[in-house]
């Protein structure tokens, strides 16, 4: 009996969608957006700390985030939230044994919703 290969951890392989089915795309997307949102969560908490600094600090901060680079960043966060959230719904309900056979259709449907929502928010943000 040969030993199990204890390969060095190859992080890239997690995110390699070649030859993979839709489910893996969902898995990869979920991981990336999840990690991204976690990062954002803590940045966001730190930035909201400006509120404790009183009106000047906060309003100055809001003026800063009005610039297009921050807006684009914010859009990314919204996109990630929609993808992660809607995909989460899919995982949640299939995990309880509901619609397991329809997970692909579910994924396509929910991601369509996500894309529409993202476009809607993009237009809203950049036209205001």
């Amino acid at each position: 009996m040969a030993k199990h290969p204890q390969k060095p951890i190859n992080l890239i392989k997690w995110f390699d969608p070649r030859n993979k089915s839709l489910g893996s795309w969902a898995f990869i997307l979920n991981r990336i957006t999840g990690l991204g949102l976690t990062l954002y969560l803590f940045l966001h908490l730190i930035m909201l700390g400006q509120l404790a600094g009183g009106p000047e600090a906060y309003d100055g901060f809001i003026a800063l985030v009005k610039n297009p680079i921050f807006l684009a960043g914010e859009l990314l966060v919204i996109a990630a939230a929609f993808i992660h959230g809607l995909n989460g719904i899919r995982i949640g309900i299939t995990s309880f044994g509901i619609a397991g056979g329809k997970q692909k259709q579910l994924f396509i449907g929910l991601m369509t919703v996500a894309i529409i929502a993202i476009i809607y928010f993009a237009i809203r943000m950049f036209t205001h």
Binding site: I9, G34, T38, L41, L48, L51, A52, G54, P55, I62
Partner: protein
């Protein structure tokens, strides 16, 4: 390894954690929807100034909702992070460190958030 199984007893993934992750994920979505409705439909013009934010927090429902939201999001995010870290197969020792780290980080950020909310409410 016993017959191909790694049976070192440690709380890696488990039913409780998994259930909690699904549950908090669901709650985040629910609260987020309420949050979006309140922010964009009920409050006119959004929360773009300090004064707006302080006024917004005068309604007693709001701070409770925001704190709940914070708890759900932080729990969900840190458990998700832990799942990702577990896939790097940490040793028992490293996993214990990760567990402590995440608990401290979680409690810390929730405490910080509550403090922040109370500060804002106090400014009203």
């Amino acid at each position: 390894m016993r017959d191909g199984f790694d049976v070192t007893p440690r709380s890696g993934e488990g039913a409780g954690l998994w259930f909690l992750k699904i549950l908090t994920g669901f709650l985040v979505i629910v609260v987020l929807i309420i949050h979006l409705i309140v922010n964009h439909l009920i409050v006119e013009g959004g929360l773009l100034t300090y004064a707006d934010v302080v006024r917004y927090y005068q309604n007693s429902i709001i701070p409770i909702m925001e704190i709940a939201f914070l708890i759900f999001v932080v729990t969900h995010a840190l458990m998700g992070l832990r799942s990702v870290l577990l896939d790097l197969h940490p040793s028992n020792k490293v996993l214990r460190l990760i567990n402590y780290g995440l608990v401290v980080l979680g409690i810390g950020s929730i405490a910080y958030g509550i403090w922040l909310v109370l500060v804002i409410v106090g400014r009203g």
